[in-house]
Amino acid sequence: MSGGKNMNRTKKRAVVLLVMLSMVLVPTMAGRFLAPNDPYQTNLSQALKGPSAVYPFGTDNLGRCILSRILEGAAASIFSALAVVAVVFTIGTLIGLTAGYAGGWIDQVLMKVTMVFQAFPSFILAVAVAGMLGPGLRNAMISLAVMYWTTYARLARSLVIQLKEEAYIKAAKMCGAKGRHIIFRHILPNMISPMMITAALDISNVTLSMAGLSFLGLGVQAPLAEWGLMISDGRPYLQTAPWCIFFPSLALFAVVVLFNLTGDCLRDAIDARGEGRADA
């Protein structure tokens, strides 16, 4: 009874969030077309102008429209984070699955490697990897992947080990089912939900880390638009033109809050469903 009520509330929240998320994501995806000005058009006579009708969020030190650059930069800021999450999700799951399913020395070695990666303060490892590889969006994404994959490997491994003990999987094994069949039919489908929750909650972290790397100059390079880089570029004008920093930060903050809310909502929805199943 109370479960049903919760479920309804979760559903309502999900709808509200989807609307809000699309309000942010759709304009950013269609950024190029919505942008009021050319994001790369420099105009020194219009440099560091405050918000106006032509430039709603003002202009930066080269006279470029900040709103247009925020819209243009969304791709690098948001979609790169989503791509990183997708990559670490896949790599981590593969490693965790291998370790958990194979067991023995393979498991030992893989988990020791994971442990070593986790022994680094993660953002520092990312900074060092990005620093060695040299700046650039692709390298920043690689370094974020190096920083984030361990969570997924460990989670996947523990899920596999847990699932391996389930009666129906033991039964399938005894009936002579092949390893591949067991993994794809029985183990993977049951791992997806908890892994998805972790991934959803991680998107905001990755977005923040990506912005952090860009802010340090290790991500997207000028003149390309990216929020962290825009904020960093605006630093000399903190006093004279604070909008150069304020609006990109606001965009980043809004997106991160939304990702967090969505992640929480997804977790609650999946948890609620899991509970319902346990009851039945």
């Binding site: 303060p121 923040l208 912005a211 809050v257």
Partner: protein, 308 residues
Amino acid sequence: MIKFLARKTGMLILIFIGITFLSFCLTYLSPSNPAEIKLNKTGVPPTEELLEQTREEMGLNRPLLVRYGDWLFDMMKGDMGTSIRNGKPVVSELKKALPQTAALTLVSMAAVLLISIPFGVLCARFKDGPFDIAVRFVTYLFASLPSFFLALVFLYLFSVKLGWFPVIAPKGIRGIIMPALVLALTLSAWYIRQVRTIVLDELSKEYIAGSRARGVPEREILFSHVLRNAMLPITTLVGVSLAGMLGGTTIVENVFSWPGLGQLAMEAITARDYPVIQGYVVWMALIFLLVNFLVDLSYGWIDPKVRR
């Protein structure tokens, strides 16, 4: 206790080897090779022949594991090579910056605990009350705030508008306040929620009812029982969260021009000074490892179950 220590030490050695090996391998990621950089530095145009000769001189042609062994051996002796940028020994560069980062981290961590323990305890004590709800809302938003944005807001407010602090942080107490506060505030948002959960967990335990039944006043239950018992999970939290804090120093030192390891690393990255980047990551990882080892040891002091 001895078994506990032996197991911990074994783990420590394994992780130490892993950390150093991984850091050593990092140099292989760089697109330009060290021999070339060295030649460029001396102004000699790199020909194939010269490159090969330099590689031989630098020992770059030997097998990976041999080179790692040498590198590790040198590192243990306190030699981590010389900075490509200015030719100074890497270790002395790191040593100069380390106290700054250590001070920043310690002050921030102290601030985090001073902020989050009272807030977390109050939230748990008055669960679902207006204070709890307000704090939960604020911490939720703060957790989404990039630390560099908070740092810039602080610069804008306290340096530019109010003029309380210079824009470039001076050394000493006056300089450390702003970077430490920024670092502490971003982490506190997460901490308050964790402390709240820990205290709520303690409050639901049976010894609380037991203490009440013996007539112990609520305030004493909170301070001498709950807080004492919460020490263990909070200590664990400090160890784990140190990683995030060290990562945060990189950004905060950059914004406030605080001359610590993060600042040094960024300068090294700009100059493609690989030995310094390598030294930076090794030192940070070793600090993290050491602190967590100390945290583990402190369990013996905090938790009677480990002590006995």
